[in-house]
């Protein structure tokens, strides 16, 4: 899991010819391709909203006599070093992990909006400055920027969220900027200007929605990315502290017992993989359908 948005050269993509026919798009396999990831994302959201409905046991209940129990009918995902039920902890961890992921994405997008709009609308000088800033931020690859912020501001769930958000910002900023540049030159913005709409109205009602629509797909992918980065920080022992159930923190706890209790890391990890993979698949589908829509 490497990527949100590498600095790809900005090239206008030629419209790809539709590869699939209308008939194949209704085949049962394709249907499953949306239903399955949809169910996974739905389950994670449900777990985040109402963990009590799904979790068979108290995620914090310690039972030392049952520590390190392998997966069984009673403990689907086994138990951890204190005999807590890993399955229940994974379910209860969804809320924290999702909150951090969503919060980080929001922070990243907000920063990106400011940068991208300044670059896209502010004229040559501002654009040059924004491009430089994005370039500089890219020189702190991956979670590096997050690690620096944690080193400076200490270790907490909030820092974790802000840090991941800032780390994802340059990728979004680049896309907002190029999107704004495209939309700004579009005929409908020209039309709105000719009609004499005030600049504020053009910005809010015409430019922003149109510049943002293509980004919705990327946001779907980005939330998964943010969850993974937050979990990576948690895995390194930074972020939410035990005994709170959170996927990253659980991975960190399991890391120390890998050789005797693989399930402590395996199952939280599988959950993260399935969740992000589902978001990726759904995001792609969304992208295909919007691309197809644009062709019509």
């Amino acid at each position: 899991m490497t990527t949100l948005a590498p600095p790809l050269p900005e090239v206008e993509k030629p419209a790809a010819p539709p590869l699939r026919t209308a008939r194949s798009s209704r085949s049962p396999l394709r249907h499953l391709g949306v239903a399955l990831p949809g169910a996974v994302v739905g389950a994670v959201v449900l777990a985040a909203l109402a963990p009590g409905l799904l979790a068979p046991q108290d995620p914090l209940e310690i039972s030392l006599s049952e520590s390190f129990a392998p997966p069984s009918a009673e403990h689907l995902f086994g138990t951890d070093q204190s005999g807590r039920d890993v399955f229940s902890r994974v379910i209860h961890g969804a809320r924290q992990s999702l909150l951090i992921g969503l919060g980080a994405t929001a922070i990243g997008l907000l920063g990106a909006m400011v940068l991208g709009l300044a670059g896209g609308l502010g004229g040559r000088l501002a654009d040059g400055a924004v491009t430089r800033v994005i370039e500089i931020l890219y020189a702190f690859p991956g979670i590096l920027l997050a690690l620096i912020l944690i080193a400076v501001y200490g270790n907490s769930a909030l820092t974790q969220m802000v840090a991941v958000g800032l780390a994802t910002m340059p990728g979004y900023a680049r896309m907002v900027r190029s999107q704004v540049l495209v939309v700004r030159r579009s005929a409908y913005v020209e039309a709105a200007r000719t009609l004499g709409h005030p600049p504020a109205r053009i910005l809010l009602r015409t430019l922003l929605p149109n510049a943002f629509r293509p980004l919705t797909v990327l946001i779907t992918l980005g939330v998964g990315q943010a969850v993974v980065w937050a979990a990576a920080l948690g895995f390194l022992g930074m972020g939410v502290q035990p005994p709170t159930a959170e996927w990253g923190a659980m991975l960190n706890a399991g890391r120390h017992y890998i050789q005797q209790a693989w399930w402590m890391d395996f199952f939280p990890g599988v959950t993260i993989v399935l969740f992000t993979l589902s978001l990726t698949v759904l995001g792609r589908r969304l992208q295909q359908s919007t691309d197809a829509g644009a062709l019509r």
């Binding site: 690859p141 979990a231 390194l236 050789q259 890391d265 395996f266 992000t276």
Partner: protein, 316 residues
């Protein structure tokens, strides 16, 4: 050597230097935003309860009470002389620690990049541009590979190959110990590169030169390997500089899983101890590697696509 080439090289160096200066400036000011007394951190934190005279001596020694601009000047001067200060916790020059630990990390990331490319090229050559299940299988594998987080893939590989099957050592400084960490790092990047290469491969397959080569009687496998791949590899090569940077960030996690020596382990320890000079030193070196890797990947792009000789640098 013509004038254009020399000017291009000079521009590249200048913009790289500018980028590094900006990175250095950011980390310097971040460091000085830290709440708390750095002298206290050097002496082991407030819990160590150092006497006031010692604190003052440290402040004088490191110049913590000088005006910020003076400290900034001293920091930049040190940087130019490859002096990144002294680690609070290890009481050694940061440059010495980093230069000792960067080699194993570069080995790891280099091996991972090779694996990623081998994977991307294999997947592309075998499955790209093919209709039916083969193409779909290839695309599916890439998506799954690209979505695997290092922290999970590493743990799974470790448990399967080192603990259960015992084919490979859990911890080993030799070449065998490099296999699992490099796979952990390389597989996700390989999946990502393969996605990019596949898209490009599909586009290139529809180009007239493919038809013309085939009509001259060239074999399909030959065309795929010698002509189409050249086109398809370009965006991947351009991304490799960025990829190496992201690998170093991934190496932080991988080195922790496999208890491997390297800059990632140093960074995690430094972050946990709030050893800022060390954190900054590592960051700066990573940025340096990133800049160099990007210059190299630009150069590699030109090697693969001679057309770029006339355009690169002209636009930027």
């Amino acid at each position: 050597m013509n004038v254009v080439l020399i000017r291009r090289i000079l521009t590249t160096i200048a913009s790289a230097a500018l980028l590094l200066w900006a990175v250095a400036t950011i980390v310097f000011f971040l460091q000085h935003l830290v709440p708390g007394d750095p002298a206290m951190a050097i002496l082991g934190g407030a819990s160590a309860n150092p006497p006031e005279e010692t604190l003052q001596a440290i402040r004088d020694q490191y110049g913590f009470e000088d005006p910020l601009l003076v400290q900034y000047g001293a920091f930049l001067t040190g940087l130019v002389q490859l002096d990144l200060g002294e680690s609070y916790t290890m009481k050694q020059p940061v440059t010495a620690i980093v230069s000792e630990q960067i080699l194993p990390t570069l080995q790891l990331t280099g091996a991972a990049l090779a694996i990623a490319w081998a994977l991307a090229i294999t997947l592309t050559l075998l499955t790209a541009g093919r209709r039916g299940w083969l193409g779909r299988l290839g695309a599916g594998i890439e998506v799954v590979f690209a979505a695997l987080p290092h922290f999970w893939l590493g743990v799974v590989l470790l448990v399967v190959f080192a603990v259960v099957l015992q084919w490979l050592p859990v911890v080993d400084d030799g070449p065998l110990g490099l296999v699992l960490p490099a796979l952990t790092l390389g597989i996700p990047l390989g999946g990502f590169l393969a996605q990019v290469t596949r898209d490009e491969f599909d586009v290139a397959l529809r180009q007239p030169f493919v038809l013309s080569a085939l009509s001259r009687g060239a074999r399909t496998a030959d065309v795929r390997f010698r002509q189409v791949l050249r086109h398809a590899a370009l965006p991947g090569i351009a991304l490799s500089g960025w990829g190496l940077g992201s690998l170093i960030s991934g190496a932080v996690v991988v080195e922790v899983i496999f208890s491997r020596q390297g800059i990632g382990q140093v960074l995690v320890a430094a972050v946990n101890a709030q050893d800022l000079p060390l954190v900054i030193g590592v960051t700066f070196v990573v940025a340096l590697v990133y800049v160099i890797a990007n210059i190299l990947s630009d150069a590699a792009s030109v090697l693969v696509d001679p057309r770029l000789r006339h355009t690169i640098g002209a636009t930027s």
